[in-house]
């Protein structure tokens, strides 16, 4: 293939192509190449979001962006023992596209003061405080556990409001394919099944007639205060 030396491309194409090549669809290269070729004659091609090639490319870009976003959201680090002052964490994640290298700088910016490795079927990224390393050799799923996951599950269970059950909404944003690597996801079926019962119980259990002791004391205090005030004002007047 021969490309003339004077080939110029807009920055917008570079951004688009960089996202496209992460896509898992084998047709991505041919499409990127065709757009590059057409750009030589149609300089404003990328401004036409309704063009079929551009629309397809944008769709790929969007899918890669979403995958990137979900990876930054759903990676779960587990602590592993390590000598020395830095703490160490390992995560296992299964992305749809080739985004391990694309997401690595995000984790570096965020988790700078700890060592970490993210292993995926599409390669690994790792940071040790000095160098960020990425490869694309498929990794094996490590066997990991972390006690703090139990606290996280406790939080997940209790922040859920059973009176607002909206399972479909949850699943569009957190599709089931991610669940197996999310420590909190094992709680979901139980939460859904128990929701109605919990709401009914709340409805049945009307407000109790007795207030807690400290409330009674509080009332007594404020009443005493107002009493004292009245008393004062009465005295000062007399």
């Amino acid at each position: 293939m021969h490309i003339s030396r004077s080939l110029t491309v807009p920055q917008a194409f570079l951004d688009l192509a960089q996202a496209m090549i992460c896509h898992s669809d084998p047709a991505r290269f041919a499409l990127a190449y065709r757009i590059l070729w057409r750009l030589q004659g149609e300089r404003h091609l990328l401004d036409i979001p309704t063009d079929p090639d551009v629309a397809r490319a944008r769709k790929m870009e969007k899918s890669v962006r979403r995958d990137y976003h979900k990876m930054t959201a759903f990676v779960r680090f587990k602590e592993v023992p390590q000598d020395g002052p830095r703490r160490a964490f390992v995560a296992w994640f299964e992305p749809d596209h080739h985004i391990v290298a694309r997401t690595a700088p995000f984790f570096q910016r965020r988790f700078t003061d700890m060592d970490w490795v993210i292993a995926t079927p599409m390669g690994r990224s790792a940071w040790d405080g000095e160098a960020l390393r990425c490869d694309d050799a498929p990794a094996d799923k490590p066997d990991l556990s972390d006690d703090t996951d139990e606290l996280w599950r406790t939080y997940f269970v209790n922040i859920f409001n059973p009176a607002r059950l909206k399972v479909k909404m949850m699943q569009t944003e957190m599709p089931k394919k991610y669940w197996k690597n999310l420590p909190e996801a094992e709680m979901i079926p139980g939460l859904i099944n128990g929701a109605e019962q919990r709401v009914r119980e709340m409805a049945d259990r009307l407000a109790s007639d007795t207030a807690p002791r400290f409330n009674t004391r509080l009332h007594a205090k404020t009443q005493a205060k107002t009493h004292a005030k009245i008393h004062e004002s009465v005295q000062s007047r007399s």
């Binding site: 964490f89 988790f111 700078t112 703090t148 939080y155 997940f156 209790n158 859920f160 807690p212």
Partner: protein, 409 residues
């Protein structure tokens, strides 16, 4: 017996779930490449979703659910028999950092019941944020719910460490306050909002020496209103929101469908949370902030001041203002394109770019992933004109969902 950390986490996150906000976006961009832990990237990340469909972005907890106030709608009110607990500041710091390191969260959303007095409570909360930022170099997101009646000095200190401060007005009208939160003073809440707005304005001016903006509540302030606990109409609620946006430049007003709480007060309705109503209010709020609608326009066609539950407010406005349609996608101004049901702001921007290069037809709109079924009656495009469609008497029927039996609790 003293409760374990896990037991207290259960109680104090349960108590926090009635706050709708979990947003962590719109703050300054930060990273830890020069030290510390954490980053903020402009748009926040939802790290999980609960089965209620809500995003979990922050560790949203109360410092304590003891409270000396007795607000009827609140699970923490002093007369409720709910189980009580309290975190030490160190425990909140530890939970935040350890959750953050495992990538469960973007940061902390801390609020609290009022113990002893407002200033004492606020002081403890400020200490937590100060420790996170100064002692532990935490660069993640912090949202602090300020305590009503806390002193200005404390709130200003909080602003140095927090990305966002909020104070919930909860009730849309002053009459609602008197009935349900007699110990709170709406006037003081508005005063706090005003003071915070001024402080944010001051900080956003460049300082002479450094030519940089002071770091002060970069994600601004927000508030929340409860929907359905009192009798305020949607028009009243949205009017209150508009006033808050304009006067105090709030970033967000959250709407929280009143939800039955355990051991709830007898003065409150025992209902299923009006989720659809809440959703419609968010949509109307969105139209006001991003689509150039006035609140009056949105609620004008509604005799009882309530939004149509069956149709979204934009569609409902369009049906009441049919004379302004169809809109020509190849010629109309941005303002009018924004009013077409089915066009979002991004779609409108894409249309404006694309039509400079070619005349757009329905197939082009389809490629912008617009729902053609929804927009067709309202637009003209290359070889498409809906002239008759807009006059159809059953137009509403084309969009409204089939009638459903009312669900009762």
């Amino acid at each position: 017996m003293k409760k374990t950390l896990k037991q207290r986490l259960a109680i104090l996150s349960d108590a926090a779930k009635y706050d709708a906000s979990c947003a962590s976006s719109g703050t300054s961009k930060r990273d830890s490449l020069k030290g510390g832990l954490g980053s903020t990237e402009g748009s926040g990340i939802c790290h999980a979703y609960a089965p209620d469909g809500r995003c979990i972005s922050l560790l949203k907890i109360l410092m304590t659910n003891f409270c000396i106030y007795d607000c009827a709608y609140c699970i923490n009110r002093s007369s409720s028999n709910v189980e009580r607990a309290r975190f030490t500041p160190e425990e909140v710091v530890w939970l935040t950092l350890e959750f953050y390191r495992r990538n469960y969260i973007e940061g902390l959303f801390l609020s609290s019941g009022i113990i002893r007095n407002s200033d004492y409570t606020m002081e403890q909360m400020v200490r937590i944020t100060r420790d996170l930022r100064v002692k532990h170099g935490f660069n993640g997101y912090i949202h602090l719910k300020t305590i009503p009646e806390a002193s200005t000095k404390l709130i200003e200190e909080a602003g140095l460490f927090a990305d966002r401060l909020s104070i919930n007005i909860e009730l849309p009208t002053d009459a609602g306050f008197e009935k349900f939160a007699p110990q709170k003073h709406p006037k003081n809440i508005r005063r706090s909002m005003g003071e915070l707005k001024n402080a944010i304005d001051d900080a956003s001016e460049l300082t002479l020496q450094t030519r940089r903006k002071k770091h002060f509540v970069p994600a601004g302030q927000s508030t929340q209103m409860i929907i359905g606990a009192d009798t305020a109409s949607d028009a009243t609620i949205l009017g209150t929101s508009a006033g808050l946006y304009d006067r105090y430049r709030l970033r967000r007003v959250y709407y929280s469908a009143f939800s039955p709480i355990p051991d709830s007060s007898k003065s409150l309705p025992l209902i299923k949370p009006p989720l659809m109503r809440e959703h419609r209010l968010y949509q109307a709020d969105w139209l006001y902030r991003f689509y150039g609608f006035e609140i009056g326009e949105i609620t004008a066609g509604r005799v009882d001041g309530m939004l149509d539950l069956q149709l979204d407010p934009k569609l409902s406005w369009a049906l009441e203002n049919r004379a302004r349609f169809p809109v020509d996608v190849n010629k109309a101004e941005r303002e009018m394109l924004l009013r077409v049901p089915g066009f979002g702001t991004k779609t409108v921007d894409a249309i404006l770019v694309a039509r400079a290069h070619k005349r757009l037809g329905l197939d082009d709109l389809g490629r912008l992933r617009v729902s053609l079924k929804k927009v067709k009656p309202f637009v003209t495009a290359a070889s498409w004109s809906p002239a008759r469609l807009i006059d159809r008497v059953d137009l509403r029927g084309m969009f409204a969902p089939p009638p459903q039996q009312m669900e009762l609790l």
